[in-house]
Symmetry: C2
Subunit: 191 residues, 2 copies
DNA sequence: CACAATACTTGCGGTTCCGAACTATGTCTG
DNA sequence: CAGACATAGTTCGGAACCGCAAGTATTGTG
């Protein structure tokens, strides 16, 4: 970072480029700053606490989710971590191979798989999380305590809203035209 | 989405798991909600406006940056887009192959490369961005206009802070121990 | 017991992603 | 002006990542 343009300069350039176009600037700034902040924060956390344990962001998030909730079915882990089930299978494998996570069958429903931290995983998180939280404090340094609360609360509202209404919105948007297939992906076995 | 646990439930589980550990909860909630919101918003935007043009998130961000700033040197594009320059090389290639972006040498400094939208790229962005902005409005629906401003402003402060102080902080944190190499990555040609 | 539904895995084809090594070019200095 | 150093971009190894299709196994149901 520490680079070419500040956010303020970017917003100015947007004004210059899009001055004539009717836009909703406040929402644009809010959304784009959420992503800027998320990227910057993630990079900081990766390069401070996570890197020293050779954990990726996603690996850490998965560990965190399982840590907080204890044993958890894989589908919920994927959802909480914000990744697809397919990705989780791979990430969980990596974490298993490092001895941090274990995979158990469900006692009564044989279709389910349950994830749980190993003792090493528990130990790692107990050691790592306070450090992680220290950096959360560092990145939040410019916020008053009440501001941090209000920030969290506004974001919570956005997530809840998307959670409740996003799918319907997407359906409405595309009307009857079905989603185009992705450029990539597995093809049907035979045409 | 629309899944298992709400944010409120997660925060409750955190309380249960970490009740005894002294933590800075407000900052924790703020940071983790930034990432939750970023993921949810990104997924919504990808599956509504971006998907129909077969653009990935990163591809769109790169196009957006170049669109706003006009011709731009690749190193700045990478920085503004929040990706590494190595990643940009690949993404730019993809966008070039789709005829949306072009790559020019710098007239006087042979090391530099400059990116610019093609006419097709300009046209695409002119068509796409209003739709994108509409969805930014949708995801910001639960926020008052003044709240959106305040949200953007708080996030801007965090980014600015990280920009100014992040590197020093990381240096301080690791002291004299150098960063361990990543598990993955290119190795020296010969040991 | 056939048959549908569910949960996960596997694999495909692509993109993205980082960061270190490498290449090419420019700049500084003795 | 040559050698050292700096800078910009590309290449590459390894992993993450998605969405989808297909496969496996299990459970629920009429």
């Amino acid at each position: 970072m520490s680079g070419h343009h500040t956010i303020a300069e970017t917003e100015k350039a947007v004004q210059a480029k899009l001055g004539a176009v009717p836009l909703h600037r406040e929402q644009m700034a809010a959304v784009s700053n959420i992503h800027r902040a998320a990227t910057a924060i993630r990079q900081h956390l990766e390069n401070s606490v996570l890197r020293t344990s050779d954990l990726t962001w996603t690996g850490f998030v998965v560990l965190w989710v399982v840590w907080i909730w204890g044993e958890m079915e894989t589908r919920y882990v994927a959802e909480e971590a914000g990744i697809s089930k397919g990705t989780l299978t791979g990430v969980a494998k990596t974490l298993q191979s490092r001895g941090l996570l274990e995979r158990l069958g469900h006692p009564t429903d044989g279709r389910l798989a349950v994830l749980r931290l190993t003792p090493e995983g528990e130990e790692l998180m107990a050691d790592l999380f306070p450090k992680f939280n220290e950096e959360e404090v560092f990145v939040s340094d410019p916020l008053e305590s009440s501001e941090a609360q209000s920030l969290a609360e506004m974001l919570r509202r956005m997530v809840t809203h998307l959670d409740a209404n996003g799918e319907q919105r997407r359906l409405d948007l595309r009307g009857d035209t079905p989603l185009p297939p992705r450029r990539s992906g597995r093809r049907a076995k035979h045409g």
